[in-house]
C-alpha cells in the first residue's frame, strides 16, 4: 500500500510562551494510504481537529513534518495553497461557511479559484452536487433558504468540486438525524468508490466508522493510540474504553456476553456479525 500522506513526529503547540501553552498534538506519526477510506477516532481534546488542519496546511507544525506524496508540504511555503486543492477539508457544521447568493455560485468558488470556467466549470459543479446528494433543482436557490441538511450538502459539494486527491471530512453527520446520517455517509461511500480517491472520515460514532472505514487510526491525548482494520482495533475494546472512547454497541454486547460466560468472538462490530456468531455458537452446542 502506497502512502499518500505521512505525518511524521508532528507536534503542535498552541499559545507558546503564554499561560495557556498546550500541545494539542505531540510527536504524532501516522499514515494515510492511497485509495483507502480511513476512519479517525478520538475524543474531544485528543488532537483530531488540530491534526486534520495539518493535513492541508492550515496549521504549521511546531515540530515534525507532513508529507504529501513524499514531499514536505511546507518545503515551499508560498505554494501551500496548492496543497489545499489536493487535500480538501470539510469542517464540522460546514454549512456555516456558505456565503454566496446561490448554491451554484457557492460550489463554483473553489474550482473557479483553480482556474476552471465555462462548460468545464458547469459540469464540475453539477457532478459535485450529484456526489453530495444535492438535487439539481436546489442549485439556483439561496443557500440560506435551504434546510440544514441541504446546506450541508452544498458545503460538501463545494469541497468535492475541487476534485481533491484526499477528502477529509470532520464529523460529516454531526447534528443530522439517523436517516440523514445514513444517506450522507452512503453518498460519501459511493463518491469514494466512483472517484477512487482517498477519504479520511473523522467521527465519534464507532458504529459509523465500523461500517465505512477500511482502516482506523485512534487518537488519544495528542498521540496515536492504535491503528489497524476495524476488526483489529475493536478487538481492543477495554483499551478503547479506558481511553474514554466508545466501542460499537454490538462489540460492547459481545464483551458483556463474554463476561457472562458465553464464548463469543469479541471482535464483532455489527449487529449482523454478532447475530451470526451467536447462531453459530448455538449450532455448535453453546456451553
Amino acid at each position: 500500500m502506497e502512502e499518500i500522506i505521512r505525518v511524521e513526529n508532528l507536534t503542535h503547540t498552541y499559545g507558546i510562551g503564554t499561560p495557556f501553552q498546550r500541545s494539542a498534538v505531540e510527536d504524532l506519526t501516522m499514515s494515510v494510504y492511497r485509495g483507502e477510506l480511513l476512519g479517525l477516532i478520538g475524543h474531544t481534546g485528543s488532537g483530531k481537529s488540530t491534526l486534520i488542519q495539518h493535513l492541508n496546511g492550515l496549521l504549521k507544525p511546531t515540530e515534525g513534518r507532513v508529507l504529501l506524496d513524499g514531499r514536505d508540504i511546507w518545503e515551499e511555503p508560498k505554494k501551500i495553497r496548492d496543497v489545499r486543492f489536493r487535500v480538501g477539508l470539510v469542517f464540522q457544521y460546514p454549512e456555516y461557511q456558505l456565503f454566496e447568493e446561490t448554491a451554484y455560485k457557492d460550489i463554483a468558488f473553489g474550482p473557479t479559484n483553480m482556474g476552471l470556467k465555462g462548460d468545464e466549470l458547469d459540469a464540475r459543479i453539477r457532478a459535485s452536487a450529484r456526489f453530495a446528494g444535492l438535487d439539481e433543482s436546489l442549485l439556483d436557490k439561496s443557500p440560506f433558504a435551504l434546510s440544514g441538511g441541504q446546506k450541508r450538502r452544498v458545503a460538501i459539494a463545494g469541497v468535492i468540486a475541487m476534485e481533491p486527491e484526499v477528502l477529509v471530512l470532520d464529523e460529516p453527520g454531526a447534528g443530522l438525524d439517523p436517516r440523514g446520517r445514513e444517506e450522507l455517509l452512503e453518498h460519501i461511500r459511493a463518491y469514494h468508490r466512483e472517484r477512487g480517491n482517498t477519504v479520511v472520515l473523522v467521527s465519534h460514532s464507532m458504529e459509523e466508522i465500523a461500517r465505512y472505514a477500511d482502516r482506523i487510526v485512534v487518537l488519544s491525548r495528542g498521540r496515536t493510540l492504535m491503528s489497524g482494520t476495524p476488526r483489529e482495533v475493536f478487538a481492543h475494546g477495554s483499551a478503547l474504553m479506558r481511553a474514554g472512547l466508545g466501542v460499537p454497541q454490538p462489540t460492547r454486547i459481545a464483551m458483556e456476553l463474554r463476561r457472562r460466560g458465553l464464548n463469543v468472538d469479541p471482535a464483532v462490530y455489527t449487529v449482523e456479525e454478532l447475530r451470526d456468531a451467536l447462531l453459530a455458537l448455538r449450532k455448535g452446542g453453546a456451553r
Binding site: T44, D177, P178, I253, R260, E272, L279
Partner: protein
C-alpha cells in the same frame, strides 16, 4: 399542587414563510400532559417538530393555535412569563451560544441575579448548582476554554440556579462526543433521581431513552407514538417509518428471534440484552 406540570391542548405552530416559500407547519395539533417528576424523552427525525414543541414549553415560542400551560398558567399571558420561566429551564444545543460571562460562577449566577435573588442566596445557589453538575473545581475558570460537555454542564448549572421544577433539553447533546454526552446524561439522570426534577429530553439518539419513564415519538408535527421505552422500541417497523432506528440491542434481539431463537426482544441496555441472550441460550 397540580400533578401536571406541562400541558398542551391541540397545539399548532407554523414558521412564517417569505416571498419564496410558504409557511412551514411544524406542529399540527399536539395534545399532551407531562406529569411532575417524570422523565420524558421526545424522539423524532429532523423536521418532526420536536424542537418546536420544546420551545412552546416555556414560551420561547407562543402557540399559533391551541394552548400551552405551565403549572396551569397560559404561556400566552405575558404577565406570567417570569413565573413560567422560573419553573421551566431550557438547555439548548449549542454550548457556545449559552455562555454569557467570562467566569463560570458569573455565568451560573446570571439568572438568579436577574431574578433579584439576594446576594447571599445567589452564592449558595451557584455553589449548589456547580456541585450538582460536578463542576465545582471549575468555579473560577473561563467558560469558553471548557470542553463541549463541560460547557453544557455549566449551562445546566445556570438553569439549576433558578431552582426550576423542570428542565427541558433541546438536543443538548447533539454537538457533544460520546464522553461529553454521557457526562450530561449522567447529570440529568442524577437530578431526576435525587431531586425529582421533571426532565423533558428532546433527542434523536435512541439510547438516551434508556432510563426514561415515557417516550414520545414525533412525526409530521404530531405525536405518533407514546409509551414506555420498552413499548415504543418493540415497534421497530413503525420507528423506521418515522425515520428512527431501534438501538442495536433491540435490533440484535429481533434478528435472533427472526432466526428462530426464543428470546425476549425488549431489552434496551447492554446488560439487559446480554442477560436476555444468556437466558435464551441456557
Amino acid at each position: 399542587m397540580m400533578s401536571t406540570i406541562i400541558q398542551t391542548d391541540n397545539l399548532s405552530y407554523a414558521y412564517p414563510g417569505d416571498e419564496e416559500t410558504a409557511a412551514t407547519v411544524a406542529l399540527d395539533g399536539v395534545t399532551l400532559k407531562i406529569e411532575r417528576g417524570s422523565f420524558v424523552v421526545v424522539l423524532g427525525h429532523n423536521g418532526s417538530g420536536k424542537s418546536t414543541l420544546a420551545k412552546t414549553f416555556n414560551a420561547v415560542l407562543l402557540p399559533g393555535g391551541g394552548t400551552a400551560y405551565v403549572d396551569g398558567m397560559d404561556t400566552k399571558d405575558e404577565s406570567l412569563l417570569l413565573e413560567i420561566r422560573r419553573r421551566i429551564g431550557m438547555v439548548f444545543q449549542n454550548p457556545d451560544n449559552q455562555i454569557v460571562a467570562n467566569v463560570v460562577e458569573e455565568d451560573v449566577a446570571f439568572a438568579p441575579e436577574n431574578l433579584g435573588v439576594p446576594t447571599a442566596e445567589i452564592r449558595q445557589r451557584v455553589d449548589d448548582a456547580l456541585e450538582a453538575v460536578g463542576m465545582t473545581e471549575f468555579t473560577l475558570h473561563a467558560p469558553h476554554l471548557l470542553s463541549g460537555g463541560q460547557k453544557q454542564r455549566i449551562a445546566i448549572a445556570g438553569v439549576l440556579a433558578m431552582l426550576p421544577e423542570c428542565i427541558v433539553l433541546d438536543e443538548a447533546t447533539a454537538m457533544l462526543d460520546p464522553m461529553g454526552r454521557r457526562e450530561v446524561l449522567n447529570v440529568i439522570e442524577g437530578l431526576h433521581r435525587e431531586k425529582n426534577i421533571t426532565v423533558v429530553l428532546i433527542t434523536h439518539h435512541m439510547n438516551e431513552a434508556e432510563h426514561a419513564d415515557r417516550v414520545l415519538v414525533m412525526n409530521d408535527g404530531r405525536i405518533a407514538m407514546d409509551g414506555t421505552p420498552r413499548e415504543v422500541f418493540s415497534r421497530a417497523e413503525e420507528l423506521a417509518a418515522y425515520g428512527l432506528a431501534v438501538p442495536d440491542t433491540v435490533a440484535l434481539l429481533r434478528a435472533l428471534k427472526a432466526s428462530g431463537v426464543e428470546v425476549a426482544t425488549d431489552a434496551l441496555t447492554v446488560e439487559d440484552c446480554a442477560a436476555a441472550i444468556v437466558a435464551a441460550f441456557s
